[in-house]
Symmetry: C2
Subunit: 493 residues, 2 copies
């Protein structure tokens, strides 16, 4: 039996463990991780992350670890390693309450990084002294061979991790279908200055292989596991989500009908989360005429399966199948069929600035709050407490041709306005935010000066907060003769 890696033509591995590879239990594998180490873990969008080895590390000796993931991972990492006291540093994104709390109390040092840049951060010292000790990659695979592995429900930074690691531990997960190999397209970029453009001519073109290659000498352990992802659970769309979706759809319908950007295709991206999921699902009614509707984004959520099932989507490119448990069931039941529509890429390809710009993507992302000039805070509540991190949102907001921030106008059951005089933290600047959509309407900021933007943004605020926003503007205008930019903060009705 061949031990060669699967290929694009023949993608499905013949077995879980190919070749004469010994397997060990998780505790034995965990011993390969030294007391001070950088732990690279697979996983993105809450799926495809290693489970039993991180838990075994947490149960083992005390360690001081820098943990770097693709994107969001499970509590097996972001709770277990925090509670055991082993996690000292964390990049580039996280979503679990345990790690978030540890970051916000100062127990874990965290910096959120653009997803597209993390692979290069590893090659070119972008995290500098943050990467400490020996570098060990722990990655989940549907199958492994002597010098290759096939990822599971996400690709994320796994190719970059495997390349950067001194040693590699693979968890082969029997609950993840071998047919997932059909969706993967692993392409590795060259180095600057002779780096080629990413050779994607369409959003769903395949340019790589289903397998990630590694140096066989680096393989330190293979562990068999039989446990599913513990993915995000989306809440059902509520009235606010539906109103935002309706406003977004109305805006897009008009724009598609008149903007030459949409002459040949409608290429969209949606941010991660329940609102993004609801917005994706609402696009079944989008009026695209005979144009193809294509998704070029970071994650595929349940709402996108709805679009595929409705026959509305020509294809989808992402780095993660960030589905609910139900969504995974749905996908796994018909994976060979879905693989015709879906491509998963490494995060430095799915989110790469070049293709986003070349495909003319329309990006729809959410935010914690938006200010009167259209600056968006996507990461910090009250300026001091980080939520998840910037993730790939700015990769798309900054490089999309049309960039939309969609958010409810209030939080905390209406007690807090998400439209604020000035954001306490800025992730997306006024230079990059074209459109703001709430349940109250659409603010089209394109071409407006900073003096004109406040009126437009206020028009989509909750009506209860508009008088105080107006009063704030009037006061600043009187005091400075100018429109305000972050001279003050805090608006209460």
């Amino acid at each position: 039996m061949t031990t060669d890696p699967p290929t694009r033509e023949d993608p499905v591995p013949s077995a879980r463990v190919v070749g004469d590879l010994p397997t060990v239990d998780a505790a034995t594998a965990a011993e390969k991780v030294p007391a001070e180490a950088t732990l690279f873990v697979s996983g993105f969008g809450g799926v495809g992350y290693p489970k039993v080895v991180p838990e075994a590390i947490a149960r083992g000796d005390d360690r001081t670890l820098t943990v770097v993931s693709g994107g969001g991972v499970g509590d097996e990492i972001d709770a277990a390693l925090v509670e055991s006291g082993d996690m000292a540093r964390r990049y580039p994104f996280q979503t679990r309450p345990a790690v978030r709390e540890a970051i916000n109390t100062g127990e874990v040092m965290f910096h959120d990084r653009h997803i597209a840049g993390v692979a290069d951060d590893l090659r070119f010292d972008g995290l500098h002294t943050g990467l400490r000790g020996e570098r060990v990659a722990v990655v989940e695979a549907v199958a492994v061979g002597p010098d290759w592995l096939v990822p599971t429900t996400s690709v994320g930074n796994t190719p970059a991790f495997v390349r950067a690691a001194d040693r590699l531990i693979v968890e082969v997960n029997a609950t993840q279908p071998l047919d997932l190999a059909r969706v993967h397209d692993v392409y590795t970029r060259g180095d600057p200055p002779g780096r080629d453009p990413i050779p994607l001519s369409t959003p769903t073109e395949r340019i790589g292989s289903p397998a990630i290659r590694f140096d066989s000498d680096d393989l330190a352990a293979v562990v068999r596991i039989d446990r599913r992802d513990d993915p995000y659970e989306f809440r059902d769309p509520d009235d606010s989500d539906r109103a935002i979706a309706a406003n977004l759809r109305r805006f897009l319908d008009a724009e598609i009908g008149r903007n030459p950007l949409f002459a040949e295709a409608v290429t969209l991206q949606f941010g991660v989360g329940s609102l993004g999921n609801a917005l994706m699902g609402a696009l079944t009614e989008l009026e695209v005429g005979d144009r193809p509707l294509v998704y070029f984004g970071e994650v595929i959520q349940d709402g996108l399966l709805d679009l595929i099932d409705a026959g509305r989507l020509s294809g989808a490119s992402a780095t993660s199948l960030a589905l609910s448990a139900d969504g995974q069931d749905r996908l796994f039941a018909d994976i060979s069929q879905y693989a015709n529509e879906i491509v998963l890429r490494p995060g430095d390809i799915s989110n790469a600035t070049g293709p986003i710009e070349r495909f003319g993507v329309t990006a729809v992302n959410s935010a914690v709050e938006v200010d009167l000039h259209g600056n968006a805070n996507a990461t910090h509540i009250r300026g001091t407490r980080v939520v998840n991190g910037i993730g790939g949102s700015n990769d798309f907001v900054r490089n999309a041709r049309l960039s939309i921030i969609a958010l409810p106008s209030t939080a905390a059951d209406g007690d807090v306005s998400r439209i604020v005089p000035a954001t306490a933290h800025v992730d997306h600047t006024d230079h990059d935010v074209d459109i703001v959509v709430t349940e109250h309407g659409v603010a089209d900021l394109r071409g407006l000066s900073l003096r004109e933007r406040p009126d437009a943004v206020m028009s989509v605020a909750d009506p209860a907060y508009r008088p105080s926003l107006r009063s704030y503007l009037d006061q600043v205008s009187e005091r400075t003769g100018a429109t305000p930019i972050a001279e003050d903060t805090g608006v209460d009705p």
Copy 2:
């Protein structure tokens, strides 16, 4: 005699006005501009802009104009049209006191836009209702033919303007050498979603032509002029500039010696201005070993001619020869020789995200102020008064592999700290700023959490301001249990 456009092989036009084209005086040309119009003007970095036609427009009937330039232009536009009351809106950048004052009093509506995106803004409605009335392009050329022109000292957005305009007025400037055709490389991108990657395999490769083509029916007037640019004047480097340059050079020397980013080449960009000019000039002593030192930036300033003259530079790509009058004299005296080293491209190529990222550019830009987390304000003084606009700085800061903000630690003769607790406006976010350099040292922020960054940034503040910055941090930390992000502003020693 042929009226064909010059080619890459034979770039220098045979005459100023080629073919049977009538010329008119500026007043006659100005009559082609209707009462409400969008006026696209050539010019970038304070050079290569039209002069007599804008002045004639200012002297003529009252108009309501949206004025869009490549970058910075002369007082013939940004003072004359403001003082005449004709300028109602302005994009995407400006540098002259008259227009800045009118923007800050609310007389002129202005929004600063990323340079790389302006060409697409025109194709795909990125400025929306800001572009009003008929679209007239007024551009300076060294030569014009029936359906082509060759730009002068800058390319900027001229190809995009000529394409987007309903009619075209050309000023043929006899003071600009015909040999400038040798430096131009005009390449026009296709449209999304089938847009190709920009086919540059090296920073200085030539992929276009010296001429910009237009529809001969659009040519409304040709005006001969004989007047030089009124360019920026750089101040001489002072002690602070020299100290910043020394710190930058020391950092780069160490980085070049150890970071694989520099294994094959050192590819740099510097921001516009006296500091950028001084920093460029100081690089003659950079220790690059046998690596080529290449410039892939937006403007070529006098300091870069120093590098070329010293035989230190392998080549330079930009969109503008933003030279002083002396620098222009120096360039014009030896233009054929300099044309071997220098390429001028359209702004959507010089600043394009794809090549910046592929070449692994190290970007060095300045800012008004930097906060304790590394967020940089490049555009607004005290949050309310715009300076010049973001220009191309974020094209480079965001897409460079290594991004450096270099600035003096104080302004106003030491009365104001440029290191602040929180910036009043954010142009470059903490996700994008790797290094902060002042005359007091180098803050390396790579991999540091937001809790760790303040100590690093404070270490390069003026010592007189460090106690108040520390006191601010302590207060916020006590109140919130967290490191501050824009909870408050204002630091006075």
